[in-house]
């Protein structure tokens, strides 16, 4: 992940913590975690604020609400997190080639 490049060790550690949390968020239609599916494009930290840039498998997916709520919920469980911002983007469009 580019987000992990040129960061200090504590930041890398925190980014890894966020990724671990996000592995718990499953796409209930497909049955894989959003990390495994490659739906998370970028993570950014600014103090205690975590910004998650992600997509969904298809535009207008009604699961979008619960999934983004779930992302906010699991990231907010980390003790150092003060705020979570979720950006849902459609470019680049998700494809199965992004599954890890």
């Amino acid at each position: 992940m580019s987000a992990c490049e040129s960061r200090t060790t504590p930041e890398v550690h925190r980014i890894e913590e966020v990724y671990q949390q996000l592995r718990r968020v499953m796409d209930p239609e497909i049955g894989l975690s959003i990390i495994k599916l490659g739906l998370v494009y970028d993570l950014a930290l600014e103090g205690g604020v975590v910004t998650v840039t992600m997509t969904l498998t298809t535009p207008g997916c009604p699961m979008g609400g619960p999934i983004t709520d779930g992302v906010r919920g699991v990231v907010a469980e980390l003790p150092w997190v003060e705020d979570v911002v979720v950006n849902v983007v459609w470019e680049p469009a998700w494809s199965p080639a992004m599954i890890r």
Binding site: Q21, P28, G31, T58, G65, R72, V84, V86, E91, P96
Partner: protein, 440 residues
């Protein structure tokens, strides 16, 4: 990132230290979707009408095999499917999907419950009126249905103007409701005929009514709403959607020309209107082929396979329609076959396929959406019994084919066997729906 940012939808929560309790239905609720009970009551009633219609189909099989498509019991069963199953399902789906697709919600949930009661009471009255042939019940049913359709139109259609997305789908839904309103006016003219208030050629009225209702309302709604649902469930990306800009106008113009020709007694207009409608539907089949061609999910589940089979039946419906237009004198069994293929093969199977997708999907959202991220959650697929889905697909498609063949050759035994297989397919779908109520 710049391109991404321009298209980004940011969903920021207030600063929080612990997971915020989510509303039932998760993010769906925050987007203005109604309580689950509103679409839920529609879908439950829709399944009940499907079951009743399927049983009725077995009962009227001899009439269908004889081509008696205007016999009151046949018309009663047809309305179990068109009003009870299809229209109830469409109303429920619109309440659920309008906020998701267009970003605007219905004006009033209470009015939604009221229109549901009016729709069910009106349908029951109309079906009973046809089955036992009581013109007073027909008139009462029409009035209740008029109130139900007017109520739904008041509740959701004006909201379309505030929509920030899904304008094309909104246009399809609005156009479809215009088709339904016109179909009801033509039906009123037919009921006036029955009550002896006036005399209008009943076959011309019926032809116009059937096309306005099945094509103008149900099919245009299926195309519009399906343009979001089908690619979403198929995980289809990158397909062209230019046909959608032409299908609605072609079908709409075709209906106006066809109806004008039939009701105005201008025979030359009828084939011209039919040609426009057929062109629109061929274009739609191309659009649907694009959805399936560009799907990421290569292996179809029972719901998406049933929707695909429904498109095959739509092709057969078009062939029967062309034959009906070319063969002089409208042979009764051919007309009955056209109705069977269109109402059962295309519309019923398409909606049944969507049910197999949307019912577990909405149940999951309602029961588990607020718990995303917690361990041990089932997937959507875990909520259904796949064998029942495949059984439903096989029985529905085989039943419709046997039924259509029986009607085509005028063979009562085959028609009844096909109806029984179709009813068994409906039973598996209903069982799946009942089972979902106990999940979680």
């Amino acid at each position: 990132m710049a391109d991404r940012d321009r298209q980004a939808v940011t969903t920021a929560a207030p600063p929080l230290r612990r997971p915020a309790p989510a509303a039932p239905g998760g993010g769906m609720a925050s987007e203005g979707t109604p309580p689950f009970v509103l679409p839920g009551e529609h879908f439950a009633a829709g399944l009940a009408w499907l079951a009743l219609g399927a049983v009725g189909l077995v009962a009227v099989a001899p009439l269908l095999a004889a081509g008696a498509f205007t016999a009151p019991p046949v018309v009663a069963v047809a309305h179990c499917f068109t009003l009870g199953w299809l229209t109830t399902s469409i109303f429920g789906a619109l309440y659920q999907l309008f906020p998701v697709v267009l970003g605007v919600s219905a004006r009033s949930v209470r009015a939604g419950h009221l229109t549901f009661i009016l729709l069910e009471a009106g349908t029951a009255s109309l079906v009973a009126g046809f089955w036992w042939f009581r013109p007073a019940l027909l008139a009462a049913g029409w009035l209740l249905l008029f109130a139900a359709v007017g109520g739904l139109a008041w509740n959701i259609l004006p909201q379309r103007r505030r929509a920030k997305r899904g304008q094309v789908i909104g246009l399809y839904i609005a156009g479809a409701h215009l088709g339904l309103g016109l179909a009801m006016l033509v039906a009123a003219a037919r009921i006036g005929n029955v009550l002896g208030w006036w005399t209008v050629n009943p076959i011309r009225l019926l032809a116009t009514h059937v096309h306005l209702a099945a094509l103008g309302f149900a099919t245009l709604t299926a195309i519009g709403v399906g343009s979001r649902l089908v690619p979403m469930f198929l995980l289809a990306h990158g397909h062209a959607d230019w046909p959608l800009r032409w299908i609605g106008p072609l079908v709409g113009a075709g209906l106006v020309i066809f109806g004008g020709g039939e009701l105005g007694g201008v025979p030359v207009l009828v084939p011209a209107g039919a040609a426009a409608m057929i062109a629109g539907m061929v274009l739609y089949l191309y659009q649907a082929w694009l959805y399936y061609q560009h799907r990421v999910r290569r292996k179809l589940d029972p719901g998406l396979a049933l929707a695909a089979a429904a498109h095959g039946f739509l092709l057969l419906t078009l062939a029967a329609g062309v034959a009906l237009a070319l063969v002089p004198g409208m042979p009764p069994r051919l007309a009955a076959l056209y109705g069977v293929l269109g109402i059962l093969g295309w519309l019923t199977l398409f909606v049944a396929g969507i049910y197999q997708k949307i019912l577990p999907f909405l149940t999951w959202l309602h029961r588990f959406g607020p718990r995303v991220g917690q361990p041990g959650l089932p997937t959507v697929a875990d909520l259904v019994v796949p064998r029942w889905g495949w059984a439903s697909l096989g029985l529905f498609t085989t039943g419709t084919l046997v039924l259509a063949a029986g009607v085509g050759v005028g063979q009562t035994g085959a028609t009844r066997a096909g109806a029984a297989l179709f009813a068994a397919g409906a039973a598996f779908l209903v069982a799946q729906g009942v089972r979902l109520r106990t999940v979680g």
